[in-house]
Amino acid sequence: MKKIKMLKNKYTMDDAYERLMKRSKNFSVDKMHTLFYPYLKINYLVDMGEKLKRLNENVVCMVDMYTGRESVAKTKGEFIEIDADAKLMMPLKIQRESALKNAPLTIGTTIMGRKKVIKIPDIIHQDDEIVYKPFYVVECRNSDKEVFHILFDSVLGDFSLLNA
């Protein structure tokens, strides 16, 4: 077991089941298991300079540590600490240094688009940490008893098919 910081899930497994069942009645859910997806949560201070000080803000960048995709967090997000089984945690495929190196560019582009200013801000790294998002891997069976899998995002409530 390992202590990790996890995004608090809004949807329990029962909630996930209900959401799936609302979409169709022609299948059954056999099993559900949590899978922890790794991100690097980087806190940045966006410094617009002395004259545009009022536009300064703290921005959180989440870097997907499996695919490397970066995104700017829209909401603050609530985090909790839990003990998690290492077998249920996806490994980190991206190096921390590489994530830290590429993230500011994404932040800068997003911020400039949002604030509509010409001045390039300073993206100042504050801190970073590895956090995990809990997903549910759902094993289902259709009416012909054929198996298929769904990935359920327990924070957003979205889901998609895990087609091979």
Binding site: M90, F159, S160
Partner: protein, 524 residues
Amino acid sequence: MTEYIVLGIYLVGMIYIGIYWSKRSKDSESYLLGGRKIGAVLTALTLQTTSMSGYMFMGGPAQSYKDGYFTLWYAVGDGGGAIFNVGILGKRMRRLSYYMGCLSPVEYLERRYPGPATRAIAGVIAIIFVYGYVLAQFLSAGKTMSALLHIPLPIAIIIGAGVIVFYTFAGGYLAVAWTDFFQGIIMVVSMVVIFIMAMSQVGGLTGLNESLTQIDPTITGMWGRGNIYMGQWGVVAGAVLIYLVGYMGLPHVVIRHMAMESPRLAKQTLLIATVWNQLFIFVPYIIGLMGIVLLPDLNDPEMVVLTLAYKLLPSVLAAIVLVAIMSAIMSTADAQLMLMGTMLGRDIYQRYVNKDATDKQLMMVSRVCILVVGLLSIVIALINPPGVFSIVIFSFSSLGSAFLPSYVCAVWWKKANTTGCIASMILGCATATTWAAFDLASVTGFHQFFAGIIVSILAMIIGSQFGKPTPKDVSDLVDRAACKTKIPAGLATANYKQIAPETSGVLTFLKESDFMRETGFQPV
């Protein structure tokens, strides 16, 4: 004189329908399948009138006149035939044939069970036995007209068969369907009128049964007059089964599912066809029974319906009954002739002779084939070589045994593959034909259809364990025809784009790691 006039009006009416639809059949889909726009009532009536030939006016009542209540075993099976036929095949066959773009029931088999041999074998079996049917119906039309109107047989054949050939050639499927519709109305009204009139003469159902019991108690027994079928459950099973499920193996019947306007109409078709069946199937046999009481000295039992009509009805109405008999024969013959045109045009010409045939060419070739087959059949019927009638004894059982498992499994069993289909067609047909040819039914007590269908089903099940499996694209279409896919559509359409990157990451992880195995999941 009245009957000549009434029949003349009827024949002119049929010719008019042929001409009317000839102008409106613009492409091969409308010529061969009515543009797949046939509504529920039309589908029901064309389905049932095609299934029931002159046998219902002549052969059936003659049988019950000779054998008593036992003959009603055929009615017991036949009465439920539409329930099975439409209930099992209707919707799914309509959908699957549409997705596969088929215009003929032989082409349908080839697309579902891909392979060069499927179409060739199915085509040969269908063409031989459906052609046998066409010949027998033309001969039947001629003989009936000749007997009823006292005109020479050759003239009767030329007139009767000639009209059928004309309106089928001219108007295609729509002419066939609409003539079937009017023929169906005439058939059922005539039958019901005679039934009511005759029933009033015999004192109702109770009066009829009491009179029959007085003549010979075995007439109202389970085993036929003189108990000749005592204990022969094999014959009974065959009699019930042959018409309960046999229609699902007849290409000229199942094509009607393909032509339905929409799968949604299947339920109306089932209901209308079933109600129609109860009127039209039980009634002829009971009329035959009434003939035992009302016409005890009848020389030719096949004339029982017409003789009762002349005895009980005004001459105009009796003439309409005569027309109804012709209608019954024609409504079956036209469908079979139409099917011959479809098969020869689509399955032979377009498949093997001219793969790039345009729609117009296909339509023209189908028309020409109908004309040639029709004229050739008239010539053969005129010559009337011995044994031609016996083909029809083979036809129903041989066709049913050959094709029933293939049509049913096409939409209900994805694993049914080409090997199974070919084995089923060859062995089923061979068994039924051999059984009939050597009259093994009298030795074994099992009807040839019963024997043929058992062999055919076994051949399908065993054969499907060998050879190439059903291709995935076909398998997917079968699922789609059943309105199901591996992933329920309601889930599939909810694919959220936001978690697409995580999805691909998780998918890679699950394939590369032991997560699935360790958590007891099946591999992804």
